[in-house]
Subunit: 213 residues, 2 copies
Amino acid sequence: MSKVQKIPKATITRLSMYYRQLELLEFDGYRMVSSEKLAWLCQINPAQVRKDLGYFGEFGVRGVGYDVIDLQAQIKKILSVNRDWNLGIAGMGNMGCAILLHRNLALRGFKCVAAFDNAMDRIGMPLPGGMKVQDIKELKTTVRDLNIEIGVITTPASAAQGVANLFMEGHVNAILNFAPTRIDSPNCCLVENIDFTVIMDILTYKLHQKMAA
Amino acid sequence: MSKVQKIPKATITRLSMYYRQLELLEFDGYRMVSSEKLAWLCQINPAQVRKDLGYFGEFGVRGVGYDVIDLQAQIKKILSVNRDWNLGIAGMGNMGCAILLHRNLALRGFKCVAAFDNAMDRIGMPLPGGMKVQDIKELKTTVRDLNIEIGVITTPASAAQGVANLFMEGHVNAILNFAPTRIDSPNCCLVENIDFTVIMDILTYKLHQKMAA
């Protein structure tokens, strides 16, 4: 077991939200923000803001609030987004292209440095930034050459495990899997699965609760 | 406040996972499954399985386990996926097409019945199933005519609120927003935001914890 304190995933999600609101506040010229205002902007209650931030230290001043710029820096550090991360994407269909061309990912330091596919009509296809779609066979060596830390899988389900194995052989630290299948991995590689059907299940559950309330 | 018992979101996510494993177990010919086996398949602990299901009733038989088919039906009912849902998608870029063509969504009863865009070169574009991309101006009336219950927004951030307003004027019950901006909505419409940059923040946080452990 890890010695690190167990922080709820919802707290991490909210930190990411707080950070986005702090950016907007800075843009609007605010220097300080109260937990009440930050909570209101995020549509949650102020006690939750204080509790979430309390896991990581004392960031506010009682009766004054939080320093908008300082708290951004603290949250970036907590989330480890105070640096760039190199991404490689395997599977250049609609989903792969959507991730590759996602402007906000690049702006936030998630740099797509390589893209792969196994289809002959996609390999060699020019991409923004002077990149080209590479043959999936080059994945393992490219991961090492370009220091790719996060592998993104946007292939069909049937190809996902094979591609994951290639990413792991190249020693990525994490895999973000959009293919609708689970990936087996040794403990050394972190795997996050984003399954749209699970997202839809959560939505319909909430919708049903709302309609029944 | 709702009278409905507050169930953790993580529980709902896991129910969705259990359901997928139960489908596979049925496919493999299993009639019964223990909480230990179901937990092992989902890479969690058995107490968690029992706790999650315990929120909703007594589904298992002590010493025997859960009926694979019956538990699927129960979970489908809990998640409200024991029926089809009509979806409309606004924004036919890469992300919109990825959702529209997502085979598993349709298989699970999430039917994309209309697609919209405002770009002249996309309007009229043929889509699978005999559909065509419709002008965004037709959104409100189409939502009513086709009984669209869930609006999916895959437009750029700048267009998202306007499109959300159209969906709400057409009286959808829920909006799934992939545009990297928050949607303002009255309480009557459920909005779920899927922000890839937030997903990446959670991933890098976990990665950092793992590396530090």
